[in-house]
Symmetry: C2
Subunit: 318 residues, 2 copies
């Protein structure tokens, strides 16, 4: 059994994953807000404690950035960890077995390639489109790490060089600056969108100023026909299509999988995405590329983390 761990800004998850990549026992806990480094560590240690028996290896996905493969993590959404030696702490807790770590978006890409929508692809980009836009690159059937573990950063491919929005990275016109959920929601609000999608109970949930609006709410309103929401999804879809065309030409991809919150946005996102992709991916070899929603859902990060150990011949990480 492999202990798989997925650390994000809203939750920490862990599971025992069998050799077939199936999570057998899983647990999760909310990532404590405003916690210091040791409180965060104790939360994680307590989470995995019941899963520690008979473990042959530990695979970890964590929000970036991090040093790699050392795994000193500084997740953007977990301010309490800055240069926290997550891999070293886990290695001390689990002596004598491999402990490997990678960016959480890379783990999702690996999972989709190993067990999900990317099975059988030789050259794929696995994307996550959510609060951020990330990804992982599998070429010739093998995970491309990059010298610093950062290959796959499709979110910072430039899609709007002239006058594109500023990006959290310090640049401007990056795919992420246009297509991340919060940027889309902000764009839509600025263009007159009034969030009005159905709430979790199915009833219409009118907009309240104090409620955070998300890309997911925007996607729901676009599916319901809201004009500004449709325009926002079109903006994101075209940006995604342009970046995917560039990546396809550069890396000779056959498949792109899209996971994360916006992957469920349907035609309002995927229609304009396909339109822009086919407009720009015109070399003969690039026309074969397919774009498909990811298939593994929320457990993808855990499955991919386990694959760093269970399928190391394909997803090698030092």
């Amino acid at each position: 059994m492999i202990l798989a761990i997925d650390v994000g800004g809203t939750k920490m998850a862990a599971a025992l994953v069998d050799a077939d990549g199936i999570p057998q026992r899983a647990a999760r806990v909310a990532t404590p807000l405003d916690a210091d480094a040791e409180t965060l560590w104790k939360t994680l240690a307590d989470l995995v404690e019941p899963l520690c028996g008979g473990v042959d290896g530990v695979g970890v996905g964590c929000g970036g950035p991090m040093t790699w493969p050392d795994g000193e993590v500084s997740p953007l959404n977990i301010p309490g960890w800055r240069g926290f030696p997550l891999r070293a702490r886990l290695a001390a807790r689990f002596p004598g077995i491999p402990v490997r770590i990678h960016n959480d978006a890379v783990c999702v890409a690996v999972a989709e390639h190993w067990q999900g929508a990317g099975r059988g692809s030789a050259d794929m980009l696995g994307m996550v489109v959510s609060t951020g836009v990330g990804g992982g690159l599998i070429l010739g059937g093998r995970l491309i790490n990059g010298g610093t573990g950062n290959a796959g950063h499709i979110g910072h491919v430039v899609v709007a060089p002239d006058g594109g929005p500023p990006c959290g990275c310090g640049g401007h016109g990056c795919l992420e600056a246009v297509a991340r959920g919060p940027a889309l929601a902000a764009w839509a609000l600025a263009h007159g969108w009034t969030p009005n999608s159905a709430g979790p109970d199915g009833r219409a949930e009118p907009y309240r100023e104090d409620r955070a609006v998300t890309g997911r709410a925007l996607a729901a309103d676009a599916l319901a026909g809201d004009e500004v929401a449709v325009a926002a999804m079109r903006r994101a879809g075209r940006a995604l299509g342009i970046a995917i065309a560039s990546a396809t030409h550069l890396c000779d991809l056959d498949l792109v999988t899209i996971g994360g919150g916006l992957s469920q946005a349907g035609e309002p996102l995927f229609g304009p995405l396909e339109e822009a992709l086919r407009e720009h991916a015109r070399m003969d070899f690039a026309r074969r590329v397919k774009v498909t929603p990811a298939s593994l859902g929320q457990e993808a990060g855990l499955v991919g983390a386990a694959a760093l150990i269970l399928a190391a011949e394909s997803y090698q990480a030092p």
Copy 2:
């Protein structure tokens, strides 16, 4: 000894290359204009005939597109070859030894990594900026072929999605559409450039309407301070910088080498290139990327073709 062959639209070159990658005997011939397939083949066969003794393998670089690894070639600039079975014909001529073929820009990238400006790089893009814009990708120290042999097509990364110029591929806003030499020269002429660079004998060579103007002439005028030529080089440099930033974020590159006619353009090209690159390559890991002119010159294609055989562990091609 390896027989290396480099087939382009203006010349065919061949050489015997020793195990250290040094061309020992070389020959070249102008590619016959308007020749049919068999005339082109006979030209090549006659060229290599004096070099055939004691050859252990044949490596070939050829202008694309081609089927790969089969090597049925349809070079854009050699209309007489459309689906010509170049690798099969060479394999029949050289039975019992390996015959491998790749895109000519890939061969240049391989050569720069093996023997040139890219030595020691783990993750590099080797570019050729000339009549077209091409490249080859080496990640984790190994050539990335792509499923169809087309990885490295940096020329069709999108740098001007809105209102960018139409591209030969059928798309628009591609790097190649902006930065290829003929497109730059056309842009400069349309903006009032009067070519006036020194001729081969060092004397000023006034513009004649009947003389083809090239990116090289434009680069020379930019170095001499011509304002429109400087603006054209700036246009190309910024487009290159944007595309390189995108490639660096996606592939976690440490180095980009630039070969081809425009690689000698100096500060008027490389200044704006660096400016745009540093403006867009802002993720911490991306700041380490360096851009440098290629170092091998005209023989790079031959050296890289030989490497397909001599250093197959790094530059594997089936």
